[in-house]
Subunit: 322 residues, 2 copies
Amino acid sequence: MVDPVSDLVSRARDGQARAVARLISYVEDTSPLLREVTAALAPYAGRAQVIGITGAPGVGKSTSTSALVSEYRSRDLRVGVLAVDPSSPFSGGALLGDRVRMQEHATDPGVFIRSMASRGHLGGLAWATPQAVRVLDAAGFDVVIVETVGVGQSEVEVAGAADTTLVLLAPGMGDGVQSAKAGILEIGDIFVVNKADRDGAEATLRELRHMIALGAGPRSGRSDDRWSPQVLRTVAARGEGITDVVDAIADHHDWLARTGMLAERRRGRAASEIEAIAFATLRARIGDLRGDVRLDALASRVVTGDLDPYSAADTLVSGLSL
Amino acid sequence: MVDPVSDLVSRARDGQARAVARLISYVEDTSPLLREVTAALAPYAGRAQVIGITGAPGVGKSTSTSALVSEYRSRDLRVGVLAVDPSSPFSGGALLGDRVRMQEHATDPGVFIRSMASRGHLGGLAWATPQAVRVLDAAGFDVVIVETVGVGQSEVEVAGAADTTLVLLAPGMGDGVQSAKAGILEIGDIFVVNKADRDGAEATLRELRHMIALGAGPRSGRSDDRWSPQVLRTVAARGEGITDVVDAIADHHDWLARTGMLAERRRGRAASEIEAIAFATLRARIGDLRGDVRLDALASRVVTGDLDPYSAADTLVSGLSL
């Protein structure tokens, strides 16, 4: 008999898009098979270069992603894309998104594009994204792009999941750079002003460079110690400037590897993922005690004032079989 | 030397409002002293009758609460009020609210009114409310009223914290009862149509009774087996109908005590509280492992693919000292 999980993993590694899609669905649905899937994927993971792309709605994230995919394909690299929509709790819209994005790369077996909805459950994105990245990584994609709209906490989570984070901006959006939250300066390794053929592009570039210089000021040191964020311009719809962006990503990756930061970032990411899983495990074990006679007995003693709830919680926790 | 916590508890039990306020602040701030405070309060808790009041903005919750307080005072009972605002993350507004509400009962030592902001942290209200109720309960208030605006999850949490839940409505609010979420029918033990001197009051009462009858239909049985929700009318601003409401609350409390439901509700409440504390404890223990060599070592093995994150999480959990 064929083990369904290892069969699925080997088909995903053979480049079968449907097997990859199924594995990502396991992540989205927090399937009971996920533990087994993750174990089966682990030996093959850790090879892909993970790139995060974030930016406000309307800056051209999808167009830029599509242009980056084309550039990576011309360099003969296989590319997986996760388009994460933190605002959409339903996968319906996300699936429609897939088809629109797929147009250009639909017939290319070296490209896999998947939209993921965060399903509105707290921590869903932070928990699911590294696991979905691992699927694409283990399936043999050389580059994994995680694209998300920069709202609230999502851009920080994307930066947490990526080796290199690109922040996209466009000229003439409200107050330009000022309107972008100050937080983006902290998470961006590379800043891209897209739609750079439009009025105001120069002003946006200038403002951005100024803000980065201000932010970098006090912590200057030997040049190799820290990365100086790059500021680039593109017209993604015409493919202009995309080669420079891919070169800058490669430079950043080299810097990460040279300084040991790559290993450090990935270790931090793995530690967060382990913590999140450990936490979910413990939560489930406590939840299993619902209706258990031990919890009922403790609750009765708290009601009568014989025991305080903190001591009851200690007893409950010490009774967990770990 | 006087132990500050037991001193504070004994001053709260002597009726000193400032000591009561301090203890509730410990709950709001999740003070490190909270464990000790909770243990010191436990022997004195479990005596108060806890009443939840919820309803949409504008139905007259504050006015109704104030009228109920007056009625309980005329029956010579001491009353504590927790006004919980789940939408306000800051205590500033809540403090201002205190003063406005305090006007009528400001000089009455038999009344304690406190506004609590939920501070926007998830589960804050569900976690903090039972602890704040315990402070008032242990301080010797005969009746504790928990008032909250009925938005999102908050009304369900109030019902969870109370022995008896009052749902307030007012005539002519949009589509009347229909506009109130269906959920309120499940949580209300007593329904009050306030501002009953206004146009549309009769229609609202009729509609409410109809919906309750529909909801009660399939699960009818012996009359004492289940509580038939009461539907009452008030004009709280003039004190009209308030005596009937307090009588109905007493009837409901008698029914709870007679059927054993009171003990069951309180046990369920205590179990939830114990779970929440146990969960927070475990979360803190995992958090303590940030930067620990064991977590770092596990993360390194996950990065190289030598170990999958679920197995790493198992190792982490089994290494926790409980």
